[in-house]
């Protein structure tokens, strides 16, 4: 192997030049040897190998006479084989040329160990896993960027944006059979005995030992939203659960179309990331009830009021009051959180595609639009807080302060005539009394939270501050 592959290419270039003089002189003896080439061949091969090993110092130490003869033979053999090697080198070049063609393929992604573009076997684990599309799919960052870019243009042509939806407490509420309380026991009864409203939205999943209640209005919500958005499901639940829920929400498989991302697909534990959503971040809106999981994408997030239907879900979040199921009621269909947020989404969508915008569609950022729309909610309000923050606490850093500012209100620590609302936990403080005297609104901090969830300034009367704590 070494003889055919290496010696014709490398060794003659050094040894043949070194021995050019000897060769001329010894040609006769070489031609003497030539009549018996067949018998000599093995010897020659051996010698060629030896020569290769000692390329550097062979002139000095060897028995030169002996060497010369051998070398001549090798030389002749090599000269003969040169014709062959040039052709085989040609082949080599072609092969390397072909492989360099393949090198042009940047291997944009790997699926099942094969490059998606050239079909080459690839075993490296680079890139981002998109296991929700195919269990063995990984894409390189460049490819993701390319796909996002292409997809965004396509989507904007259809006047759509991306919408990422959480499942639990946002679109539905689930409970294990085990956790169903006695008061909720009627839910486990036969379907015919259920109230009409529940018949269509309560599901019993015997295979998963679970009951699932869809949030009121969810079907209308999905239907309307699908005209404005390309929708993803993104849940911290397990894949089997997520798919089952997707089936309940989308029996016709028209809304999500395998865009269901579950826990196992996330690249970071306990965090949801948009890195595995094939959508440009500047065009993604997120609906979720948990802010903490969206560490890097808070600006895309529309926070939802949690939907607790089952008692177990209430307990989980530390509410001791009766659950909706125990009270045999439900969120309002026309006025609930989903109906509210749908209006917000429509507003953002309208504003994003507003033709009066100066920036081109691709450069627009839905996060900015979201901010602007949010700022409308408490626009014109000037808020002063009293007895809300712990003493010694920088008011500016409190989440209520920030929330009020995000909603477009101005916050202040000083009382002056321009103040419109005094937010207080206690009607007995000086500022509270001032508010009552001056005819300003005195409201509970829940007023701000409610405005944040409902995207609307709430009637102040419903959030009055009780004086009871003083007495």
């Amino acid at each position: 192997m070494s003889l055919t592959a290496d010696s014709p290419v490398h060794s003659p270039s050094t040894s043949s030049e070194d021995f050019a003089a000897f060769l001329d002189a010894e040609l006769d003896s070489a031609s003497d040897a030539s009549p018996h080439p067949v018998g000599e061949e093995e010897e020659i091969e051996e010698e060629a190998e030896a020569e290769k090993d000692d390329e550097g110092d062979d002139t000095n130490d060897y028995d030169l006479d002996f060497e010369r003869i051998k070398r001549c033979k090798v030389e002749i053999l090599e000269n003969l084989s040169e014709v062959e090697t040039t052709t085989s080198q040609g082949v080599d070049i072609q092969i390397s040329g072909a492989s360099s063609d393949k090198d042009v393929c940047v291997h944009p992604g790997v699926i099942g160990g094969l490059c998606i573009r050239c079909g080459l076997k690839m075993d490296d684990e680079s890139g981002v896993a998109f296991s929700y599309i195919h269990k063995n799919l990984r894409l390189a960052n460049d490819e993701i960027a390319r796909l996002r870019d292409k997809d965004l243009k396509n989507l904007l042509r259809h006047k759509k944006l991306y919408l990422v939806l959480d499942l639990d407490h946002t679109l539905l509420n689930s409970s294990r059979f085990l956790d169903i309380t006695i008061e909720e026991g009627y839910l486990k009864g036969s379907r015919d005995d259920l109230p009409d409203a529940l018949k269509s939205s309560l599901y019993r999943l015997d295979s998963m030992h679970m009951m699932t209640k869809l949030r009121p209005f969810v079907h209308t919500f999905l239907n309307e939203a699908s005209n404005l958005f390309e929708m993803y499901i993104y849940t911290m639940g397990e894949r089997a659960y997520a798919l089952q829920m997707a089936k309940l929400l989308d029996p016709g498989d028209v809304y999500f179309n395998s865009r269901v991302i579950a826990q196992g697909d996330c690249t970071q534990r306990h965090q949801k990331g948009l890195d595995i959503v094939l959508g440009q971040e500047s065009a993604v809106l997120i609906l979720d009830d948990t802010e903490a999981v969206w560490g890097k994408h808070k600006e895309n997030l529309i926070l939802m009021e949690r939907y607790h239907f089952f008692a177990s879900s209430c307990h989980q979040f530390g509410f001791s009051s009766k659950s909706l199921s125990e009270l045999k009621t439900d969120e309002s269909e026309s006025d609930g959180a989903l109906a509210t947020v749908l209006k917000v989404l429509q507003r953002i969508h309208n504003s994003f595609f507003d033709t009066e915008h100066s920036a081109s569609l691709v450069d627009r950022d839905v996060r900015q639009v979201l901010k602007i729309v949010k700022k409308e909610v408490l626009k014109g309000c000037k808020v002063v807080f009293t007895r809300v923050f712990p003493t010694q606490f920088q008011g500016e850093n409190h989440h209520l302060w920030k929330m009020a500012e995000q909603l477009g209100a101005t916050c202040s620590t000083e009382l002056d005539p321009s103040v419109t609302h005094v937010v207080s936990l206690d009607a007995g403080t000086e500022k509270s009394r001032w508010a009552v005297q001056m005819g300003k609104f005195l409201v509970h901090p829940r007023w701000i939270e409610a405005a944040n969830y409902l995207w609307k300034k709430q009637p102040e009367e419903s959030y009055s501050v009780s004086n009871s704590k003083d007495h």
């Binding site: 992604g109 699926i111 573009r117 050239c118 079909g119 599309i133 997809d151």
Partner: protein, 177 residues
């Protein structure tokens, strides 16, 4: 590509089957065990066409089960690089589409779909030419060329292309309905 080959397998048979129908039982068990499976070497075993020979049974100590070496003829299906296949599209997404040729799953990425075909999202995601004359969606039949295969013990996965002459849709369910 399909091949008709002879394979061998050791079949374990429960003693309750020993009797007149022993041979029939053996064959039906063989079919149940083997048809539809995939071996990395031969590909998918599509159907057993005949029994070549049944060797001498060997009684297992303790259990009473008997092991028969059975030689059988069968049709196997194994895709090769460069082969042209006809396949049914099973899923379309913005990455490309998945198609199935019998038990073999093939992925055609959007790099290997002709450049004039664009992805269209919606209720039925599809790839459509700019003039709308050709459409690839779920259940379309396509002719494609295999450019890479990965054969595992239980599964064969392929990468295909339709970016070549005479490849692409061969029937379009959307056009007829």
């Amino acid at each position: 590509m399909f091949f008709h080959i002879v394979l061998e397998r050791n079949m374990q048979l429960h003693p309750r089957h020993f009797g007149r129908d022993l041979r029939d039982k053996l064959v039906s068990k063989l079919m149940k065990d083997v048809e539809g499976t995939c071996s990395g070497r031969h590909g998918f075993i599509v159907a057993i066409t005949g029994i070549e020979s049944v060797g001498k049974g060997l009684i297992r100590d303790g259990t009473g089960f008997v092991t028969f070496p059975v030689k059988y003829q069968c049709v196997v299906f194994r895709p090769f690089k460069g082969e042209i296949l006809e396949a049914v599209v099973s899923m379309v997404n913005k990455m490309g589409f998945f198609a199935e040729a019998g038990p073999v799953q093939i992925f055609v990425s959007n790099h290997l779909i002709p450049d004039d075909m664009e992805f269209q999202s919606g209720d039925v995601p599809n790839y459509t030419t700019s003039d709308g004359s050709v459409k690839i969606q779920k259940d379309s039949e396509v002719r494609l060329k295999i450019i890479g295969t990965r054969v595992d013990a239980t599964e064969i996965f392929c990468i295909g292309t339709i970016k070549d002459d005479f490849l692409g849709v061969i029937s379009d369910p959307g056009a007829t309905s």
